[in-house]
């Protein structure tokens, strides 16, 4: 019987497929719309491979189960959305400080507060900037399609191991819920328990902790973590550039918003506007190099297209050191900007010279 790697999946399911192909061994999570399909698919597929699936009693429990499994030497994943991620933040800070690898999928929904279940991108600050207490960062990947939900989830496991850090796959309700075709990659060989782990075959008395009572020790820990973040900034920036070669204007957009922004580029190019798109595939590290290059190559105005109150825009400004104006084109509350809206707002700014 022939099998095909060409499938139609929801974004949420593709993340689970990617996790299993990457050798993920444990899933712990709590149901929340619009991320629940990740739990559904995991409940079905993980036990079929003898892997662990637990519906935890709460988000806090699930991230701490992740910590336990990661410490035990397993590849492990959890998923949630907005308010659930807020609850996980305590555990993420512990995991980042203890330098344990794990993958967290955040399928963003409308906020703040209970908000709604429609897609938004307003978890940017709480995910990209650290989110919990203390000076840590997590690597953050932002898929723009169902194919990337699979591919970037696989990459997330590799980066988590490489840097011993939590890695987020930051997506939204629309990419999570939508179905597209994708090509499934080949399964990876098993990742054996690392030497630092609490697997009994690698150590009799390893210990994992995030407490450093001596301020000198804790400062050194902070410095070590930040050297790691600098290395990540240097080596791991991922970006997709579209029509940027001759661009005088540039959209910066990630995830679902980048798809509308790309359609808007097509539309504006038809109207003679030399505009392109810089789509960050990593939000931490933020693709500063691509943006600085855009400035150097003649972009005179940037547009941060976001489904939030303007969160990524700060990173755009910092990346280009405010060398060019950055306008915000945004929708909130679960509304998705239409191509027409983006085009009109862009033309307003261009014509107004703002």
């Amino acid at each position: 019987m022939n099998r095909t790697n060409r499938v139609l999946l929801k974004g949420n399911e593709a993340a689970v497929y990617g996790a299993l192909l990457a050798g993920c061994e444990c899933y712990f999570g709590y149901p929340i719309t619009p991320a629940s399909e990740i739990a559904h698919a995991s409940a079905r597929l993980f036990p079929a491979m003898g892997r662990v699936f637990i519906q935890a009693e709460c988000e806090i429990a699930s991230i701490n189960m992740v910590m336990g499994a990661s410490a035990a030497g397993k590849r492990v994943m959890t998923a949630s959305s907005g308010l659930g991620i807020s609850l996980k933040q305590e555990g993420v800070s512990y995991i980042a400080t203890a330098e344990l690898p794990c993958v967290i999928v955040d399928v963003m929904r409308g906020g703040p507060g209970l908000g709604n279940i429609s897609p938004e991108q307003a978890d940017y600050n709480q995910v990209v900037k650290g989110g919990g207490h203390g000076g840590y960062r997590c690597i953050v990947l932002s898929p723009g399609s169902v194919q990337e939900m699979c591919d970037l989830t696989m990459l997330a496991f590799d980066l988590a191991d490489k840097y011993r850090t939590p890695v987020y796959v930051l997506t939204d309700g629309m990419i999570g819920q939508m179905m597209e075709k994708l090509e499934l990659p080949e399964p990876r060989p098993r990742r054996m328990p690392p030497a630092w782990s609490l697997d009994r075959n690698v150590s009799a008395d390893n210990w994992i902790s995030s407490i450093y009572m001596d301020p000198v020790d804790l400062e050194e820990t902070n410095r070590r973590l930040n050297r790691k973040y600098d290395e990540i900034r240097e080596k791991e920036q991922l970006v997709e550039e579209f029509m940027m070669d001759d661009a005088e204007y540039a959209f910066v957009a990630y995830g679902i918003a980048s798809r509308m922004a790309r359609s808007a580029v097509d539309e504006l190019r038809k109207q003679g506007v030399k505009i392109g798109l810089v789509r960050p595939k990593t939000l931490f590290p933020f693709p500063e190099n691509a943006l600085r290059k855009a400035v150097k190559n003649g972009v005179k105005q940037f547009f941060s297209v976001e489904m939030s109150n303007g969160q990524m825009i700060d990173d755009v400004r910092l990346a280009i050191e405010c060398a060019r104006p950055v306008a915000l084109i945004n929708r909130m509350g679960g509304n998705v900007p239409t191509v027409e809206e983006i085009v009109n707002r862009t033309m307003d700014v261009i014509k107004g010279g703002k």
């Binding site: 019987m1 099998r3 095909t4 790697n5 499938v7 299993l20 192909l21 061994e25 444990c26 712990f28 719309t33 619009p34 597929l45 036990p47 079929a48 491979m49 003898g50 892997r51 662990v52 009693e57 806090i60 429990a61 701490n64 189960m65 910590m67 336990g68 499994a69 990661s70 410490a71 035990a72 030497g73 492990v76 305590e90 555990g91 279940i117 309700g173 629309m174 819920q177 939508m178 179905m179 597209e180 075709k181 499934l184 060989p189 609490l198 009994r200 009799a204 008395d205 390893n206 210990w207 994992i208 902790s209 407490i211 798809r259 509308m260 359609s263 097509d266 998705v336 239409t338 191509v339």
Partner: protein, 494 residues
Amino acid sequence: MSEKIKLGRPAGFFDVFERRPGAIKKNMHYCPGCGHGVLHKLIAEAIADLGITHRVVLAAPVGCAVFAYYYFKCRSIQCAHGRAPAVATGLTRSNPDDVIISYQGDGDLASIGFNHILQAANRGENMTVFFVNNAIYGMTGGQMAPTTLPGQKTQTSPLGRDVLETGYPIRVCEMISQFDAPVYVERCALTSFKNIMAARRAVRKALQNSMDKKGFSLVEFLSGCPVNLKMNAHDMSEFIETKMTKFFPLGVYLDRAAEREPIVRAEMNYDADKIKSLLYPEEIQSELGDYKCSSPVFDKECRVKISGFGGQGVLSLGYILAILGKQRNFNVSWLPSYGPEMRGGTANCSVVFSKSHIGSPEAAENCDMLVCMNQPSVEKFLPILKAGGVLVYDSSTVKLPEGAAKDHYVYGLPASDLANHLGDLRAANTVMLGAIAAVMADNFLDDADKANLDTAMIEAVREMFAKKAKAADINIEAYKTGKEKIEFKSVPKA
């Protein structure tokens, strides 16, 4: 199980506490008279005597025992406040042969992390919980604990614990022993020689249960905190034995390990072929091979909205179109309405086709085709159908308002009635699929696509019903009926 008490430092401890910062490497950080030191010793002795130092992973709490990893010669992890049972769950599920100890104090276990201990107990996780109850917060400096006695003065109950304000001491053993899953629950006291010997037995029994994979064991230890309770050692013991035991009676609350079978967890499977057979679907042979649609209509985004009642197969109809896109090699996206709206009885989905980039997967504006299977859908979505777009509706459930859709191509057919006639109302959606095919052939497809249309559509239906041959046949019949019975209603007026 060794009952012989050896003098000197138990082999479950490190000889020198190198992990402890500062100059003191031989002694523990606990205060004189503290129960933790006694309990640590009982545990260290037990894991050495039981020969399990290589099997033990200790999950340490936040509280005075936060530094337990300084001392025990085993693998250990320091957890967030109250979360040790969740971390321990991750540990035991990952490596089921390990013996997991969750070591917790009263604030950690019975206050901030109470849900975690209850849930881990109720899942029957294979772990041993050692619960130190000293009726006060030690590390943070003597505040009220969930187990503080009525009237007991603490930093945060300076006039004595008022039960009407702050409730009563929480009895953990009594609660946990009500669950069906745990196997062993006992309360001991770290006071007299007799009580300590009982505690020693309880420690070993609980660890034996974990070694035998019998499930969840919890031992509570009434313990002294002379510094924060402001008592000397003698008064401390008396307080525990006369006051605390009144609220927290000693004894075995549950012991059913003997009648429990060991927990057997699945072996993790790492076989690449097994993963592929799980995730990669069977390839469906296509008569058309790798045929790609060539009609120019797919050069740019073609946006379709399908809407009706939940249960009419609205989402499935969109899904069949998405399968068609996948099979015929153009980009396609399918987006359902989700959440409470879906559960409230109406359903809709967006399907976007294109040979190039698909921007928004939501057909929220400028729709090329609207498929309506109930009346509210017409009212809700007709405004997003662009001028010159196509409306296809089920005339058995929809009555088109007078003058509506005058800017559109309008097609109708009694899909539900036709499906009913075919013997399965659920096939109304594939009757609509036939109608959509006819509309496409009429207006948008080039000759090659027209010639291959039926085969392509039928192959999509077959993939949709891959495991249900009978349903596939009915739905293919429905497709043919829809394609034949579609009625052309009107063209754009303008």
